[in-house]
């Protein structure tokens, strides 16, 4: 590319560097949460996720058992090891809660009332006191533990928090709400693209207008209607709502695509005696597969990620929560500080859309372009 007039190597460097910066900026938040979802709860609050490959230094407290005290040369002495399994490395220690890391490992700390405490880096300690030791003295120390990555957060959230139920609920909402509108919209789009009748222009304008009607407007009247008809807040209600809300985009996308199909094929089929129904099912529908796929992806992502419709049209109890509602209404409240669990929950809910996104990106892009660029 260097030999093309109008490009300079310096500029090319600048472009590369700025794109790298943007990509990193875009990726960092997600990576941060992903890394945290595998980390241990205590390690998350001890160091930032960007330090997660390194050992984590944390403060602990141990009790030296007073029963082990021996009298040695006129002083009471307790010896032992702060690590139960004997593994670990003490960096600093202290004898007071107020200053838990006052001394370096190996030093001898002078405590109040002539007591002394020595903690070595392997965890072994010697505690001395001229008076009799009646209560277990506390030893505070900072030890570094190796980085721990595990699937524990995922296990916890799936096993104990009804998240598996929420996952299945999301799936239950999403699949019918994706399939049904496609079929209805395909027929309507064919009529708007290839059939000539009075009022076609008006109907297309109507669909374009309905594309932007704010969803909020539909919530109260439709919920009232559903309650009156007896559907109430239920899966049937949310399927119907998603179908209705998805239709304008579906009709618009599919019509835009179908209009672009070659006129010759359709006309020659009609000349050969095919009815509109046959033209639709045998020619237009198979040819429109890319548009159908791109709408299906859109509708899938939108219903999977939706919070608003699920909050209004599904009952608010743990049996029927979908994942977005579960995270927003339940986990953020009850597990507010438990970042490992929250991160794992977020990634369980993000995983499926991300897989769909990366495998079907081609269709998604094509659909976006059909929807907005002519």
């Amino acid at each position: 590319m260097d030999n093309i007039a109008g490009t300079k190597p310096a500029l090319s460097w600048a472009v590369n560097i700025s794109v790298v910066l943007l990509v990193v900026l875009w990726l960092i938040p997600t990576v941060g949460l992903l890394v945290s979802s595998f980390r241990d709860r205590d390690q998350i609050s001890a160091t930032g996720w960007w330090l997660s490959p390194f050992p984590v230094s944390q403060n602990y407290q141990a009790k030296a058992p007073a029963d082990d005290a021996e009298i040695n040369g006129g002083v009471n002495v307790i010896t032992g090891n702060v690590f139960e399994d004997g593994k670990g490395k003490v960096a600093r220690f202290g004898g007071k809660r107020a200053a838990p890391t006052e001394f370096k490992a190996g030093e001898t700390a002078q405590l109040t009332k002539d007591r002394t405490l020595t903690v070595h880096s392997d965890g072994s300690y010697v505690y001395t006191s001229p008076a009799e030791i009646t209560r277990d003295p506390s030893i505070y120390y900072a030890a570094s533990s190796p980085p721990e990555f595990s699937l524990d957060n995922y296990r916890t959230i799936m096993a104990s928090d009804n998240m598996d139920r929420a996952f299945i609920n999301t799936l239950t909402v999403t699949i019918p709400a994706t399939i049904i509108p496609i079929l209805i919209a395909a027929f309507a789009a064919y009529a708007l693209a290839w059939m000539d009748f009075k009022g076609r222009g008006f109907l297309i304008a109507l669909v374009v207008g309905l594309l932007v009607v704010p969803l909020q407007l539909a919530l109260v009247p439709l919920l009232t209607l559903h309650n009156k008809v007896g559907i109430g807040q239920s899966f049937l209600g949310i399927w119907m709502a998603h179908t209705g809300f998805g239709l304008p985009l579906a009709i618009y996308l599919l019509r835009n695509y179908m209009v672009g199909l070659p006129r010759d094929i359709i006309e020659s089929a009609k000349v050969d005696g095919a009815t509109d129904f046959q033209v639709f099912t045998k020619i237009v529908l198979p040819l429109s597969f890319p548009a159908l796929a791109s709408f299906a992806i859109f509708q899938f992502l939108w219903t999977w990620n939706d919070l608003l419709v699920a909050k209004v049209f599904l009952p608010s109890n743990s049996e029927s929560w979908v994942m977005t509602v579960k995270i927003a209404d339940d986990l953020l409240g009850s597990k507010g500080g438990d970042w490992g669990i929250l991160a794992a929950a977020a990634f369980i809910s993000i995983a499926v859309p991300l897989i769909v996104f990366f495998t079907m990106q081609r269709y998604l892009v094509r659909g976006l372009l059909a929807g907005s660029v002519k």
Binding site: S45, F187, F235, S349, V373
Partner: protein, 412 residues
């Protein structure tokens, strides 16, 4: 019944019902109603009679529908008059033999109704060709019927229904005119939400379009451009709730968790909660939506940039334009139309998104926007909630009109 099983059943019934409807209705108009044969005057008259009877029944059913929808508003005596014919049909059916009798009578009525088009057709003999043409006039509406009824029930009716509901008080019993609107506009919470919403509408589309254009231009000739685009496009697949959680983590107060405070900490500054900074917290929330939407803008603008004719750029290079001049004076003017489309699309999205504010701050610390303000009244005061929704609708209206005009211009 487990919801999953119910879902499978719904798919089967939905898909089967749709396909069956289209197949049967097309067969019906082609083979029965407007069979492609010539008809003499006597048989046309016979069909016409059935058709007229059908129209009467159709009107009765429609009336019942009206009673059902507006039953609470109409006076009771009127309701009784409208319901009587239907009630008598049901009684007749039950007399014939319980539930199956009702089904039978209903089917008979449906069969009658199907002939209703003949009630309007002239009383004369028709040729084969005329019948085919008549079938072809009806056919588009057969194709459109399910979509149109779903659209009108789920999107058109709510526009009217919401406005109507917003004129009533909290319980929906008393008509209070524009009372909900006047109390709402006097509420400081609503004023903040309105002001914030205008900020969102200004900042988010501008930010996302600008960044999208920047990325589209920068990655245009890059060897690894497609990978970069994929990564920047990725947040589009993440739910607003997921994205909020991701950013809540970045904004966390603790410097050992939140990246922002970690950076502040390394400069020796005290940790602060970005979500509680008055006024500026709005921008931290907006950035989340910009982060999500930049990918969308990038994809569309990058396609538009590719569509620019090479000759115009080559001519500019030969004339000695530098890269910045090429971008701002040659490329941007040529894709202005697409930029406007992206801008308006994101603007409309901004007016729908309540998830981010709801999960991040719950509308506290002066970050309320209209959609989240509405959600706080949903289930509590439907009158107020619908009034807010209608205000959102009014804000969207100019964009809607512009979109429709644009679509009509394209069709011509």
């Amino acid at each position: 019944m487990s919801p999953l099983f119910q879902g499978m059943l719904t798919i089967l019934i939905g898909v089967g019902g749709c396909v069956g409807y289209f197949l049967l209705s097309n067969l019906f108009i082609d083979k029965i109603l407007f069979r492609p044969v010539a008809l003499d005057e006597a048989s046309v008259l016979k069909r016409r009679k059935i058709g007229l009877a059908a129209v009467v029944i159709l009107l009765v059913v429609l009336a019942t529908g009206v009673v059902f929808m507006l039953g609470d508003i109409l006076p009771q005596s009127f309701v009784n008059i409208l319901i009587t014919p239907v009630a008598s049909i049901v009684v007749l059916g039950q007399w014939l033999g319980g539930a199956w009798g009702v089904v039978l009578v209903a089917l008979l009525m449906a069969a009658l109704m199907i002939f209703s088009p003949w009630a309007w057709l002239p009383k004369r003999a028709v040729t084969l060709g005329e019948n085919i043409n008549r079938a072809n006039i009806i056919r588009p509406w057969l194709f459109l019927f399910p979509a149109l009824s779903a659209l009108s029930l789920y999107l058109l009716y709510p526009v009217v229904g919401s406005f109507y509901r917003s004129l009533f008080n909290r319980s929906g019993d008393d008509f209070i005119g524009f009372g909900n609107y006047s109390t709402m506009f006097a509420d400081t919470g609503f004023q903040t939400a309105l002001l914030n919403n205008f900020l969102w509408v200004l900042v988010v589309p501008a930010g996302a379009t600008f960044l999208g254009l920047l990325v589209a231009q920068l990655t245009d000739r890059l060897v690894w451009g497609n990978i970069a685009k994929s990564i920047i496009f990725m947040p589009m697949a993440i739910s607003f709730v997921g994205a909020s959680l991701i950013w809540k983590f970045v904004y966390a107060n603790n410097p050992d968790i939140g990246l922002i405070n970690a950076i502040r900490d390394s400069f020796g500054a005290a940790p602060l909660d970005p979500l509680q900074l008055p006024f500026w917290n709005n921008f931290f929330l907006m950035f989340i939506l910009v982060w999500i939407q930049t990918g969308f803008a990038m994809v569309i603008l990058s396609a538009a940039l590719r569509g620019i004719p090479e000759e115009t750029i080559e001519a500019a290079i030969i004339d000695g334009a530098n890269p910045f001049q090429i971008f701002f004076k040659i490329k941007v003017p040529q894709i202005m139309g697409t930029i406007v489309v992206v801008w308006t699309t994101i603007t409309i999205l901004v007016l729908k998104v309540f998830d981010i504010v709801y999960t991040m701050t719950g509308g506290n610390f002066g970050t309320e926007i209209l959609p989240s303000y509405m959600m706080s009244y949903m289930f509590r005061d439907d009158g107020r909630a619908t009034a807010v929704a209608f205000v959102i609708m009014i804000i969207v209206l100019p964009v809607m009109i512009w979109n429709i005009r644009q679509a009509r211009a394209e069709m011509k």
